[in-house]
């Protein structure tokens, strides 16, 4: 469970999915189960209450029927008064002879047999009349005891004076029927209403099995008990015959005389309904296990529970899926945000849905887009500035070179070499114009090569035989003037070669080639410019250092390698890292610098595609 006392987590700090699940539980499962439970409990209760309400009414009816039947049986004693002969026998005080006595007894017993025992009344087990010390009788079933006649005779002497009708239970009598049938005795006083005298009493042994029939109308459960107790709580009738005659010990505690109540018996909850009849004072009781009542409803309950579980499962799956579908894009979003936090803006959230999460994703995407754009803009502004700076630095003609060239011109003037002077001045002029005129960072390959050629020519005037150079052109003439290259990429390399080469060597040969080659890194045909010299080469540590510097793409002012790294930096900036400069060098053999650029048919083309118009480029930035 999510609620751990040891971990007092605040709900609002939970994960969203937990919140959703908890909310779902609170909103669906708990109310549903509560509702289900309450309604089932209420249902079971109402079934119980219905039975509890209906049963006493039934019992009342049944009890009334029993009472009515008992009354009918009791009133059988009145049949005596319809028989003048029998009445005369009972009214007779004295006899003259024994034969008279016996005749009367014979007649009276016959009357009893005809009227009661053979009259087709199945409930009468026997009839006994006690009067003036005499006993008349007619029995259907004999008692268990051998001497029952004497016992009854003795009983009759006491019972004769009974003024009130009474019901005697088997326990009240000293004679018993042995066949397990439920029975009671009705003791009815025989009152001569005409003479206002008690004639004696009649004892009717009644078979209570008729109660079975009365209760039989009512379809009873096997597990239900029905029993009748008398006023004192003795069981006179019970569906379980073995209980007859015992006292019902619980009866004094019953909370109602007419109604129903729940009671616990031996750990079983039972619904007990009772009805006490006013006339006999008999209580008819019905007791049934509560389980039996709700049995029919149990199927309903089980089905309901099953359906409920299925519904909960389905809705749980839906809820989990739903929470997952909500949290999944959010998780993705948050992980992307983490990525962005780490500085990678190259992210794209795939947004499918049109809901708030989708909107959020789209907003995120557009935000990232905006950020990217802003970064790019700033970056590019920076690049432009750098470029401008580099370009400015680049396009400065090295003052040493100027100075040396002018000195060379001066010397040539002194020596009167007019042609050389004119050529040098022309070349210098052209170089200067190349430097300052064209504002574009790109020029045709022809122009670039021309510029290097001019530079080398001027240097050759100065170093004469110490420097030789050649330019190999592998492009056709049309391409030569139609393909573009960044400006000032060859001159710094050549300048470098001359500077280092002539410092340590007597002579230097510089070989420049321009051609097309397939580039493994770009996967296209590229332009490749090579500058090879036979200078002293570069020591290995130095070379590694230079490589690092080139890859680092940083540039630190006008160092000796400035020219090179500058060139490399600009190319990488413009065309991406797959282009640029490579240096191969073997000490004492020479150095080869390879510059790789894409094939460009317009001056504006770069790998990134878009290049704004140049700005921040001061035409007067040239220092010199």
């Amino acid at each position: 469970m999510i609620f751990k006392r040891s971990l007092p987590v605040r709900f609002r700090d939970f994960r969203l999915s937990s919140k959703l699940i908890v909310t779902y539980l609170l909103l669906t499962v708990i109310p549903l189960s509560l509702l289900g439970y309450i309604s089932y409990a209420q249902y079971a209760r109402s079934v119980e209450e219905q039975i509890g309400e209906y049963m006493p009414k039934f019992l009342y009816q049944a009890n009334a029927d029993i009472g009515k039947h008992m009354n009918e049986l009791a009133r059988l004693s009145e049949l005596l008064f319809n028989s003048d002969g029998s009445l005369a026998i009972l009214r007779r005080e004295k006899y003259a002879s024994r034969s008279d006595v016996n005749r009367d007894e014979y007649n009276f017993n016959g009357f009893l047999t005809r009227t009661y025992v053979n009259a087709g009344n199945p409930d009468i087990l026997g009839v006994f009349v006690f009067s003036k010390g005499r006993m008349y009788r007619s029995v259907k079933t004999d008692f268990r005891e051998r001497d029952w006649e004497d016992t009854l005779r003795r009983f009759g002497e006491k019972a004769e004076a009974a003024a009130e009708p009474r019901i005697l239970l088997p326990k009240d009598m000293d004679v018993h029927y042995g066949n397990g049938i439920p029975y009671v005795f009705l003791l009815e006083p025989l009152f001569d209403v005409d003479n206002r005298k008690v004639l004696g009493s009649m004892l009717i042994a009644v078979n209570l099995s008729f109660i079975d029939e009365i209760l039989h109308n009512f379809e009873t459960d096997e597990r239900a008990d029905l029993w009748v107790t008398d006023r004192d709580g003795y069981i006179v009738y019970h569906t379980d015959r073995s209980r007859i005659g015992q006292p019902d010990l619980r009866k004094p505690d019953y909370p109602v005389h007419n109604g129903s109540f729940r009671s616990m018996e031996d750990g079983v909850s039972r619904l007990v309904s009772v009805n006490e009849s006013g006339e006999l004072g008999w209580t008819l009781a019905h007791s049934i296990p509560a389980k039996a009542l709700t049995e029919r409803t149990d199927l309903v309950r089980n089905v309901t529970v099953l359906v409920f579980i299925v519904i909960v499962l389905i809705t749980s799956i839906i809820a989990i899926y739903f929470s997952w579908s909500v949290t999944r894009p959010l998780k993705k979003l948050s992980s992307l945000m983490k990525t962005v936090e780490r500085g990678n803006f190259e992210v794209d959230l795939k947004v499918g849905s049109g809901d708030e999460v989708g909107t959020l994703g789209r907003s995120f995407n557009s935000m990232i887009g905006t950020i990217r754009e802003l970064i790019r803009k700033n970056y590019q502004i920076e690049i432009r500035q750098k470029e401008a700076e580099l370009y400015a630095l680049q396009s400065q003609i090295n003052p040493h070179f100027m100075y040396n060239t002018l000195e060379t011109i001066g010397m040539a003037v002194e020596e009167g070499e007019r042609e050389s002077v004119v050529e040098m001045v022309t070349l210098l002029g052209r170089m200067l114009r190349f430097s300052v005129s064209n504002q574009s960072p790109s020029v045709t390959i022809g122009e670039e090569v021309q510029h290097v050629r001019d530079y080398l020519t001027i240097q050759k005037f100065r170093f004469e035989d110490r420097l030789t150079f050649e330019v190999v052109q592998e492009l056709d003439a049309r391409e030569y003037h139609a393909l573009y290259t960044p400006k000032f990429i060859l001159q710094p390399v050549v300048e470098n070669a001359i500077k280092h080469g002539l410092e340590r060597r007597k002579t230097l040969e510089i070989h420049i080639s321009v051609g097309r080659e397939f580039g493994a890194r770009s996967g296209k045909t590229d332009l490749v410019l090579r500058v090879r010299d036979n200078g002293p080469g570069i020591p290995e540590e130095k070379l590694a250092q230079m490589e690092t510097m080139l890859r680092g793409a940083g540039f630190e002012g006008r160092s000796s390698q400035f020219g090179l790294s500058n060139v490399n930096a600009r190319i990488v900036m413009m065309h991406g890292p797959e282009y640029g400069m490579q240096i191969h060098s073997i000490e004492d053999i020479g150095t080869e610098v390879t510059i790789r650029i894409p094939v460009m048919h317009t001056p504006e083309e770069t790998e990134q595609g878009e290049r704004g118009s140049r700005h921040g480029d001061d035409p007067d930035a040239d220092r010199g």
Binding site: G259, G278, A290
Partner: protein
């Protein structure tokens, strides 16, 4: 949050507890105790009512029939814990009875049960009693219905009248002259019976002739004298039918004295105790009656019930008085009994 959850679980626990009964204790589901069975409501709790004072007014206090009725009434008074005042004129007379009733109104009894000597003359005084808040019923002989609540009759008048005629015819072999001795000519019950006696004779017994109806006024001496007169007056007289309890013994005595026992048949309404000797020596043939004791008892029993707010119902079983029939506002106690020399010893009234 926790509190709410705690509450929720508590609620569930409580609900769950509701589903089960409390151990050992009984939990009432439904009770009808309040509206208990009507018969259990009035099981003889006689202790809590004050004894009623009931006046039993006979036609005459000297008449044996009414003495026995008073016996039965006293028995009932004992059974029900009431006080029964037996008061009436010496012999059957309406004026006497009115005086007695006036006196009883003075005493402010709860109920007056009267056997009326005259159905009309008694009405004003009975209405007066009624105005005083005294309940009035009649027994044995009725008044106009307006004057009383109900009438406790002993037998169906038609049944009795026709039966009396039948016993006369049986005794006389369905032919000959006979006379009727009635009580007072004004007594409603006697006149009703007489009517049916006449009807039965006209219907079935053309060879019989009713020669005269004479009133004894329920006076024993007068009854004997009348018997003698009738025997003298009608030498061919074959029978005398007594329509009230004083008649047959008087007639039988006159028949015996005249030595005409068995020759002039005597039948009619009278007590077995009065008729015993005449039946045994054939001075009288058949006496017909009911138990006046029972009638007295029943009257008081019904009076008591009526004062307790219970009217007589058809088929109602009255303890020690059998079941009654109710026809409109008339209660009928039962069937008449015939007494002959064979069974007359069985009865004691």
């Amino acid at each position: 949050m926790y509190r709410r959850l705690f509450l929720l679980f508590t609620m569930m626990a409580v609900l769950a507890a509701c589903g089960r009964g409390h151990n050992g204790a009984y939990e009432v589901v439904f009770s009808m105790d309040g509206a208990a069975n009507p018969e259990s409501a009035n099981t003889k709790d006689e202790a809590d009512h004050k004894p009623y004072r009931i006046a039993l007014v006979p036609k005459g206090v000297e008449i044996p029939y009414f003495k026995f009725a008073a016996e039965g009434a006293q028995e009932a008074a004992g059974d029900y814990g009431d006080e029964v005042i037996f008061a009436g004129p010496k012999t059957a007379g309406a004026e006497e009875q009115i005086r007695v009733i006036e006196d009883l109104i003075e005493q402010d009894v709860d109920l007056i049960a009267v056997s009326a000597n005259d159905p009309d003359k008694l009405v004003p005084v009975l209405l007066k009693a009624k105005r005083q808040g005294i309940k009035v019923i009649t027994w044995d002989a009725d008044t106009l219905p307006a004057a009383r609540e109900f009438f406790v009759n002993m037998v169906e008048p038609e049944t009795l009248g026709r039966h009396l005629m039948d016993t006369m015819a049986l005794a006389m072999g369905e032919k000959g002259e006979f006379a009727v001795m009635t009580g007072s000519l004004s007594a409603a019950n006697l006149n009703e019976w007489l009517k049916w006696i006449r009807i039965q004779q006209e219907e079935f017994y053309p060879n019989m002739k009713l020669v005269e109806v004479v009133p004894t006024n329920d006076d024993v001496a007068k009854a004997e004298e009348l018997g003698r007169r009738l025997l003298a007056e009608y030498p061919h007289l074959g029978g005398v039918l007594g329509n009230s309890s004083v008649g047959p013994p008087g007639a039988a005595k006159a028949v015996r004295e005249a030595g005409k026992a068995g020759q002039v048949k005597v039948v009619g309404l009278s007590n077995p105790n009065l008729m015993k000797e005449y039946l045994k020596d054939d001075s009288a043939q058949i006496a017909t009656l009911w138990s006046p004791k029972k009638l007295g008892y029943l009257t008081i029993a019904l009076a008591h019930r009526y004062l307790s707010g219970e009217k007589p119902r058809d088929g109602q079983q009255i303890d020690k008085a059998g079941s009654i029939r109710v026809n409109g506002d008339m209660v009928i106690m039962g069937e008449p009994l015939d007494f002959t020399k064979d069974n007359v010893d069985q009865y004691d009234f």
